[in-house]
């Protein structure tokens, strides 16, 4: 799909929404307002935004856990307010304040997530099976990190999806690290996309800092899946700016991550790159940039205010949540 001015500005706005919301949660955590932990997604927003901004509402999405899904779920239609409220432990949160950090929004095809890395693969195969049986052209986006690709669950799910031609796009957010583990010490090849050959599906590597490149690769794979041609794997090369989780050391194995590496990646910031591109092409003016910044900050302020003013859940709901009536 060739993007017009409106779509390009939407992509830019989504990038900024994910970034500013993430920054606000980090700040709120430092202020003691966030009740659980947080894994910032700053630096890799183009992956989720490029992949999820033009999906159908009834497509299924398993977001990657960076930003606890922000860059994926906001473009998919989920509410920033509800994401923030969940992190603040409020009844208006995505999971009613019971999870603390899980994003769930079935009305937008987001069925939730797990705490164990690698658990996204098998359940996504199940969504792919559901989508195939539904026969309405739905697709599944299963998003994961470089580290997640080390789990054996990947093999079982990708194999099944390939032989059953399930409509799944596997999207790897390769940020070079899994907690403190550099990918080069956890995987013997350069590209995780190479795994695709073992399952006879397309495997594509894209620049994860380039939101358009991500969008184009994912769109092609989504079309393929919608048309019944089966799964694809897309690897997005990217980076995370902050440490693995807030408060954890910023290290590789037991040594600090190289400062030059962090600096080099920050020079290729996905928002900066895209903004420069849009300004150069005359799609945005500096006045537009300022206006969008203001609008996004207003949304973030509003979301935080909403979260802070929302009540905590009533604990009497807990036993009622165990089984469906």
């Amino acid at each position: 799909m060739k993007l017009g001015k409106k779509e390009l500005i939407m992509l830019y706005t989504n990038l900024l929404r994910a970034r500013r919301a993430d920054e606000r949660i980090v700040k709120a955590l430092q202020e003691g307002k966030v009740v659980s932990f947080y894994h910032s997604g700053q630096g890799s927003e183009a992956v989720g935004v490029g992949a999820c901004s033009f999906l159908r509402n009834d497509d299924y999405l398993y977001p990657h856990h960076r930003g606890h899904g922000l860059a994926y779920i906001l473009p998919k239609g989920a509410s920033m307010k509800a994401h923030m409220a969940e992190h603040f432990g409020r009844a208006t949160g995505m999971a009613g304040g019971v999870a603390g950090f899980h994003g769930v929004d079935p009305e937008h095809g987001i069925f939730g997530g797990g705490g164990t890395i690698g658990s996204q693969f098998p359940v996504s195969a199940g969504w792919g099976l559901g989508a195939k049986k539904n026969n309405r052209g739905q697709v599944v986006l299963c998003c994961f990190g470089d580290g997640s690709s080390n789990r054996g669950t990947l093999h079982e799910a990708m194999n099944l999806a390939a032989v059953w031609k399930l409509p799944i796009v596997w999207i790897c957010e390769n940020n070079l690290y899994a907690q403190f583990m550099p990918i080069k010490d956890a995987y013997p090849r350069e590209d995780i996309a190479d795994l695709a050959h073992g399952y006879n599906m397309p495997g594509v590597v894209v620049d994860g800092q380039d939101v358009i490149a991500v969008h184009e690769a994912v769109s092609a794979a989504v079309e393929r899946a919608r048309n019944g041609a089966g799964p694809s794997l897309i690897e997005c090369k990217t980076y995370r700016y902050r440490s693995h989780s807030e408060g954890s050391a910023d290290i590789a194995h037991a040594e600090p991550r190289p400062a030059e590496e962090i600096e080099a990646w920050k020079k290729r910031d996905p928002i900066k790159l895209f903004q420069e591109h849009l300004l150069k092409e005359g799609i945005l003016t500096t006045a537009d940039v300022e206006r969008i910044e203001k609008e996004v900050m207003a949304e973030v302020d509003e979301a935080e205010k909403f979260a802070l003013e929302s009540p905590r859940p009533d604990p009497s709901i807990l036993p009622k949540l165990l089984y469906q009536e």
Binding site: V35, A99, G100, G115, R151, Q179, M181, I251, P315
Partner: protein, 321 residues
């Protein structure tokens, strides 16, 4: 005596035993850094061949530990959060626990399965469990649940000398808690409960972090109810004799454990007391454990997990009867 934090005591035990036995090595995700600092710094001293960062692959961490143990090594498989052992359920529960037995005792599988347990971080049901009952339920796995720094060190040293698979669960909320740790060499045998505080009215049997709660409550009740706190320290093997002795003295029992109540540690201990000391009981046994629910995250965690208030209420209830 010297006081050091619980997690430093664990770290010391690793260092001492690794120096003593070059067959010991640690494998798992981020063990060189040490997510909870239990293994931090060991790579400097023992090198990356003995403190091995693995890919994010719990199944092969458990499987490789099992395999290497059969070749004459003594691996420590670190699962970071004990919850993640579930990703390697086949290797742990169907293989590691059973292979010595099912192969006629012809192979040895000396492994320490190391995991961090417990709530308190409000991070939801997949990072907060105390999955003791599932392990205890499984014949073939020893199970260590230390409640203080001194026990943490002495019991880990014993685990690293045991020719069997030992599951070692250390609690999040105890990591920074300082405790007495003797200078120099010592070990603590498995299957020997410790009376953490003597008392004569009520016996509280508590595990892991619950021991610290029980001691605090016992202190609060001083002058009103005299509470004896007994810590089994290892669940398998289990020292029922020390517990029976305490029950014979007090006649009143509270059992506190952070795992889920149903089919949990507390129920097993209660039944063993029934079998061995029914005639000594003056009141029905009270159990303090997690609600039969997944551990909610955020502010809801506290409504699922047991705390000092629950121990206090249970003690008052049995003391009245």
């Amino acid at each position: 005596m010297r006081q050091i934090p619980y997690v430093m005591a664990i770290n010391e035990a690793f260092a001492e035993e690794m120096a003593r036995n070059d067959k010991i090595f640690i494998i798992g995700e981020d063990v060189q850094a040490g997510t909870f600092r239990a293994t931090t710094g060991l790579v400097k001293r023992f090198g990356p061949d003995r403190v091995m960062d693995t890919p994010l692959s719990e199944t092969v961490v458990a499987g490789a530990a099992l395999g290497a143990s059969m070749c004459g090594y003594h691996p420590v498989a670190d699962f970071m959060f004990a919850d993640f052992m579930w990703c390697a359920a086949d290797e742990i529960f169907l293989k590691t626990a059973k292979w010595h037995f099912i192969h006629g005792g012809k192979v040895q599988v000396p492994i320490v399965l190391f995991g961090n347990i417990g709530g308190g971080a409000r991070v939801g049901p997949e990072h907060s469990q105390c999955p003791e009952s599932v392990v205890w339920h499984t014949p073939g796995l020893k199970l260590v649940v230390p409640s203080c720094a001194g026990d943490a060190k002495g019991l880990l040293k014993t685990a690293l000398r045991d020719p069997n698979p030992v599951v070692y669960f250390y609690h999040k909320r105890l990591l920074g808690l300082p405790g007495d740790v003797p200078d120099g060499e010592y070990t603590i045998p498995f299957g020997v409960a410790d009376v953490k505080k003597e008392g004569k009215d009520v016996t509280v049997i508590a595990t892991s972090y619950m021991v610290q709660h029980a001691l605090a409550v016992a202190k609060e009740l001083e002058g009103k109810i005299s509470v004896e706190v007994v810590d089994p320290r290892t669940l398998e093997p289990f020292d029922i004799d020390t517990i029976v002795k305490s029950v014979q003295k007090t006649g009143r029992v509270v059992i506190a454990d952070e795992d889920t109540k149903r089919c949990g540690v507390t129920g097993e201990i209660a039944m063993q007391i029934m079998e061995k000391a029914f005639d000594s009981l003056d009141a029905p046994i009270q159990r303090v454990a997690a609600a039969n629910l997944p551990i909610a995250g955020g502010y809801m965690e506290q409504y699922v997990l047991p705390g000092p208030k629950d121990i206090l209420a249970a003690i008052e209830a049995v003391a009245k009867k």
